[in-house]
Symmetry: C3
Subunit: 392 residues, 3 copies
């Protein structure tokens, strides 16, 4: 049986569905599993006015997808386990209410509350003036524009193979006269009943000249995965703290504090190593090792990994970020110098792939830990106790 | 009989009513008075696109409330008397169209046309760089963000006691990762048939650390209250002109010019004194004393009062502001120095209360005048003819 | 028979029609011609969310009008000939998503894709600080605000005279306390079956003092009119290149390259001369002279003409601009110095008129060429090979 396509949004053909529910009743041919659903609506009120939301339920895993916010994943749950974090920003914010330039270029934070959001496409680091690139793009704001760029195209695929796959594709463009012009095509997929979802992205240069791109996945996790004594593990060839503040925490970089008053964020940069299939597992597990949040990413596409620790008090936003990227979130001029910008010639693309899995028992957590240990043993892991010129 | 609650908006539960009319027909149990109504709609077109508007009619007093603009009161009328002023900005402006940072931080003015709007919550003065507070909040724009923050929660209470009270509660949050995080809960109430409404506000620090707050009620009145020879009265212990421009007008600070070409605004700062119940009356009355616009405010909560005179020509915006505040609308660094910032510890709150009454005959105007005179006689009123370091 | 008025939007009376189709069926009395229609809808999805669009079909000529973008004309077609250009910005952008201040004041470009858009009303040149005008308006951004100002009033007139005229009037205001206050009333009209449309604009100073205004029509054309060897003609008294880059192209200023990698834009400034009726024809014709895009403008109202050549590659935006204006798009301080700003006293207005005609055969192209040649012969045409102080 063929996969069924349902178009939610296509600005080019002026197609848009305000509200719709797909489920076993409306699409009985899709799967024998009766528990899945896809519910699309538009939010109203507050700063969520006009935000399109897609709630996906694969029967076990629920995800709230935000076409209006660059196909970010707002939050989710697996069975009873919440996925995401508790940001001071409570609901999805329509980019129309956001001024990326305000607060010295840190306006991005006023909409930041997602489980998964992208930083890019021209820059994913801090704000500042980087005059070496396209002149119209030197005025950089924190983490770039893509998380605040509404999708102009959204479609759903119901693929009946293997019990049923849900795939949701969104497209966003960043482009303007005299500027670079990128297309991001993003597909989120999940198999019915599974504890996993994957994101497949492709960034294409639609512009006339070679253009610089940065991209990073800001994957943000709080309780119950994150707690005092929670562990972070990744197989890596080399790592360093981002700055002197992060260097202070080197002794315990791979474990976490509980919610801590006046904690200042720390970030660590890794060169991951991958398994035989090219994937790197990055694991956050709770103290007892009974719960794991696993990010598997295609290391060849995403050769840079950033660990962001922000174990402030709960009300401030207790969270850690597992962040695979094509580059590190330094100021773009540094990344250019280090040769980590993607230079895309006209018409060419790059792709990325990440998988997120929820591990809800100690056996599955142990299995990944053992895998990481084995991968780590393949080669020496260089650990810099101080910031290193190669990284930041 | 119990009060009836009607929920209009709750972003957290994804509740929102696009259009609804509450009146004697739909809620006959509320009151014997058949003349009240509450009509909620969403505006469309121009810069009003997407603005939620609530029109309240208590049978005598009408008010247009703007959830999308921080629960500001756009305008009103009492019987045939218009309440508000004629701003160059004619209709409510969706904050999505406003860039507070533009025009050197004066972008706030491009949405300013309300009868009552709030200035705050982190700052209510002029734009500038104040680096002494939270670093992410040093880039201050005129009058802060709260008047351009949409309410994420709006509910109506129909309370049958005393012939019937209408209460409308809205909630707004200002917060983001690394920033301060305030919740403003605002209730506007009016009794059926009355010439009054009150606003009860509570500001709570939801963040993890003590945070600085400023708040001021920009209550703006034009014709027919304001005219050549109109009077302003308030009982006060001390007052001073804000600056040299205001000092020029000290001789007539408590009376008004008619619409005046090339008039430059003047502001006067007062330390009010209150009656035995803790309220300060601030009165604007027309020349003949047959019409009065009275602001009563809880002086302990709002110890600073600003009189803003802007008697420009009608087409420029002929208006005066009666502005109780927790502080004066100076640049925040000055207010910090003067100890007038509210320093809120985590979880703590402050409250404010203002009542606005329309006086439509000389007896009621005279009564308030006599009250103000008596209160003024309780102590010496210090008048500074020049700006004074304690105020500005 | 009288003309029929249909009101689409009036914010003042809270009138707005979400979707409507006017055609021979709904308005049979309008014309014997059955092929016309006017379709109004609201766009959804992507950055077009909330944009009002009016699609006009006069039976031969189709135009897509954007009330939300200052009554700009997005694109059109005449029979099978597309009108407009292929911008990197594919769909109409809601001004709510645009930050004019970003990118060093070049944010305007992120919404730029129209066939006809206006630059003004306080400024139409490059960004910068011009402190000589109204102080609240010194922070200038590229091309001003009017193309990103939603119409608060939109009405349609169906006038049965001469087989039928469609007229669509929109009104936009630029104004705020302490700022200048302009009203733009714009009417687009087209006769059923014709290959032409006209725009009649009136700008009125609603403010209290004399205010400076700039206005320019950015009329943008790509293929099939624009191609290698396409010709530009206008009768003029004097012209000069804008800058040294434009001076490089003086030898071929009136012809075009094909799509050219790394082409940098060139602009030429003209003082046009007009025919006995006061109109100046500006013609873009394809290489063979079988297709012409003709702009006729009332030269007394629009004494400055700018030719913008931007023959970049197709994917960058292959386009030329035929741009009549009340002034040249230099920085406002230059235009003030040259006496080209419109100084409008309170209550006074200025009007402009442009007609756009599609010529789809060599006879009609030749006829206009001959007219231009004749007009050109009326007086000497001074050509400056280098930038001239009078122009830029």
């Amino acid at each position: 049986m063929e996969a069924k396509q349902v178009l939610f949004t296509d600005v080019n053909t002026q197609t848009w569905i305000e509200e719709v529910l797909l489920n076993a009743e409306s699409h009985s041919e899709f799967s024998a599993d009766p528990n899945w659903s896809i519910y699309k609506k538009q939010l109203h009120g507050g700063q969520s006015e006009g935000v399109d939301l897609i709630e996906i339920d694969n029967g076990a895993l629920r995800l709230s997808l935000l076409p209006t916010r660059g196909m970010g994943v707002w939050k989710g749950s697996y069975q009873e386990i919440p996925l995401g974090w508790d940001s001071p920003v409570k609901a999805p914010v329509n980019p129309a209410f956001i001024n990326l330039s305000e607060r010295g270029g840190l306006g991005w934070l006023s909409g930041f509350n997602e489980l998964v959001c992208r930083c890019g496409l021209i820059s994913n680091g801090p704000p500042g003036q980087d005059t070496a690139g396209n002149p119209i793009e030197s005025d950089l704001t924190l983490h770039g524009r893509i998380a605040n760029t509404p999708a102009h195209y959204v479609s759903v695929e119901l693929d009946p193979r293997d019990g049923g796959w849900i795939r949701i594709t969104g497209k966003m463009e960043e482009g303007m006269l005299f500027g670079s012009h990128f297309l991001l095509e993003s597909t989120l997929e999940t198999q019915l009943g599974s504890a996993e979802f994957a994101i497949h992205d492709r960034v294409t240069n639609l512009g006339p000249v070679t253009a610089e791109s940065e991209l990073l996945y800001h994957i943000n996790v709080g309780s119950p995965f994150l707690e005092a004594g929670a562990q972070f593990e990744i197989p890596f060839a080399e790592m360093a703290p981002r700055d002197s503040r992060a260097a202070e925490g080197m002794a315990g970089f791979n474990t976490y504090l509980g919610p801590t008053t006046d904690y200042a964020e720390q970030a660590y940069y890794f060169k991951p190593i991958c398994d035989d299939n090219g994937y790197t597992p990055a694991l956050l597990s709770d103290k007892k090792g009974g719960l794991g949040f696993l990010v598997n990413f295609k290391q060849g596409d995403l050769p840079c990994f950033t660990l962001w620790k922000n174990t402030q008090t709960e009300s401030a936003g207790y969270v850690t970020g597992l962040e695979p990227g094509i580059n590190f979130p330094n100021f773009r001029a540094i990344e250019r110098e280090q040769g980590r910008l993607k230079n895309l010639s006209p018409g060419s693309s790059y792709q990325t792939e990440i998988q997120i899995s929820i591990l809800n028992n100690s056996d599955s957590v142990d299995e990944i830990r053992q895998k990481i240990t084995k991968l780590s043993e393949k080669s020496e892991s260089i650990i810099h106790d101080e910031p290193h010129a190669q990284f930041s």
